[in-house]
Symmetry: C2
DNA sequence: CTGTTAGCGCATTCAG
DNA sequence: CTGAATGCGCTAACAG
């Protein structure tokens, strides 16, 4: 039982040298004699010495910790992004916090991050988030914030995003190519820029193809299963019924399809479903959306981490412009004949 | 732009009092006059003062941080457990690290935890982990470690576990009740106690029911899709073929079923599949296992967190016995007529 | 009721 | 080549 983490002071005492000698030796400072350095290193190893990060933080003003807030870890899109962030931020501690699509939780996470003096923050905002003051506060303290995927709307910030507008157009084009006309949009919370973009792309494509834009076929869910299914019920009771429904993401799609089936609809036959994310688990789903926009979660996480790293290293003066990085998407079609 | 976190020193200077007065006032120490306390609090608020945790750590020897290592965040069982841990450990920072079923990564995570002086660790070991020295090292430094679900085999430790042996028996009983006799076991890595328990329960139940125990129908996967599918190929080429396959968990089951289908088997008709975990996503799977053991991930995470909290608070002398907590399981049958 | 001081573990400046 | 002294932000024992 050691029960105690060794300090340079102890090493110094045992070796009969001064603390600063040990400190320097441990940093392989050439000013310290080779012989001494070796002795110090040896004893350090023997005592399982590890520098106390708290002391380092106090001196260096850098915690080597970054905070990540995102809605749900259980969504594979986000857990994959986390993996990328971990990989890109080797040497940093990554503290993760789930907002669970709740603004108050999100604020709480940021407060914790501020208190613990993280060096930077990566965020994907909650479905409830309609202002970004809590993020701005971090920036006021010089802590850079990079958003990915769910970025705030109409707000200058560092953003890693997919070209959702374009992807939404491709989705409409694909469905229209199948001869479908009444295409509905079951979107996510309007305060999310990614929702606005879906709608923009949807409208553009519908217009370009001279398809009818029916306001009653455009609605949005707060992403809960209940709300999604209520909206599906609403859509299915319109006249004429939609022939296709584009949903905010694969989870919404799954919930939507479940509801549609319970109302007697045969998915991707009577009504086509298409969505965003292209989660791996869709491969095993009974009734997956027929098409989904692959969003490359790993790449997004990676880009976010790399940008943050850059912002942390370069002082980030007040004049530094906000960066926007665009990540490719890819339309994945699931042919029915499996 | 503030760009600078205020300190008690600054507050003290601006108020013309001493540092310790401020420190005490902020702790609402009654020794400080009410008037002074109010002034301190007010200025602190105004300056957005937040205590520097690094300084606190240096004094108090407590980081209020706990580390969690587990195989994959993207497995819903684990992300749910994390959520429970977060909920139970309010006020603590939770640092998460994925081993990705890799021993070296697991060791790396623990080294980081040791360096950063976490107050405790919660772990679910990797598929490769066959010794626990890296965990013992933390304990040698007085850092308590609680394992959940994937606990090390034949090693005294704090463990939160399901009664897997019992659950495995129920699984066999269920399948035998359907008149099936040749029941195979596609298990996980043998070094996991949870794998051993599956086998124990399987063997017991098979024996009690006088069913044939065929060694060639018992094998284990390293949990990768490839290995799982290779083992399925092996099982399907035995003579006589198994009538049912119990798999390590739902993911293995999904991969197994996928392979079986590609070999022309109709799942849960020609060959029945049953497994552990009962992931919510199974509800949407095309060919889910017919039965799955619900393991209550949230409860397990919660119990782990609560036990850890207790260990952190109670000094944990060398005499403290290792605790074992058992969490209920529940057999969930998915009736085919959906 | 309040101030002074020491010290947590470490890097670093200034002296030898 | 090495040591002494200082300070990072904070608490707490000791002194008034």
């Amino acid at each position: 039982m050691l029960k105690h983490q060794a300090t340079i002071k102890e090493i110094a005492q045992q070796l009969g040298v001064s603390i600063s000698t040990v400190s320097r030796a441990l940093q392989n400072n050439p000013r310290i004699g080779l012989r001494t350095r070796e002795r110090v290193w040896e004893l350090a190893k023997q005592l399982h010495y590890r520098p106390n990060p708290a002391a380092l933080v106090l001196k260096k003003k850098q915690t080597h910790t970054i905070g990540v807030v995102l809605p749900f870890l259980k969504e594979e899109f986000f857990s994959t992004a986390i993996t990328a962030i971990e990989d890109a931020l080797l040497g940093y501690n990554v503290v993760i916090s789930q907002s669970r699509d709740n603004l108050e939780r999100e604020k709480g996470a940021l407060t914790t991050f501020l208190s613990s003096r993280v060096d930077g923050v990566i965020a994907s905002i909650s479905a409830e988030t309609h202002h970004y003051l809590h993020f701005r506060e971090l920036e006021n303290f010089g802590i850079p914030v990079v958003f990915f995927d769910r970025v705030p709307r109409n707000v200058p910030a560092h953003k890693i995003r997919s070209n959702i507008t374009q992807a939404a157009k491709e989705l409409v084009d694909f469905l229209a190519g199948k001869g479908l006309e009444r295409i509905a949009l079951l979107n996510g919370p309007p305060q999310l820029e990614v929702a606005e973009e879906r709608q923009r792309g949807y409208l553009q494509a519908m217009n370009e193809r001279n398809l009818p834009i029916l306001p009653q076929l455009i609605c949005s869910s707060d992403l809960s299963r209940e709300d999604t299914q209520a909206k599906v019920h609403y859509l299915l009771s319109r006249e004429p019924k939609p022939q296709a429904i584009i949903t905010f993401n694969d989870y919404v799609s799954l919930h939507a399809i479940e509801k549609a089936r319970s109302e007697g609809v045969i998915p991707n036959q009577e009504i086509y479903f298409a969505s965003f994310a292209n989660l791996p688990m869709m491969e095993y789903a009974h009734f997956p959306p027929i098409a989904s926009v692959e969003q490359f979660a790993y790449t997004m996480g990676q880009q976010a981490a790399e940008l943050l790293l850059q912002l942390i290293q370069n002082p980030a003066s007040d004049e530094t412009p906000y960066q926007e990085v665009w990540v490719e998407t890819k339309l994945v079609i699931r042919e029915p004949g499996v």
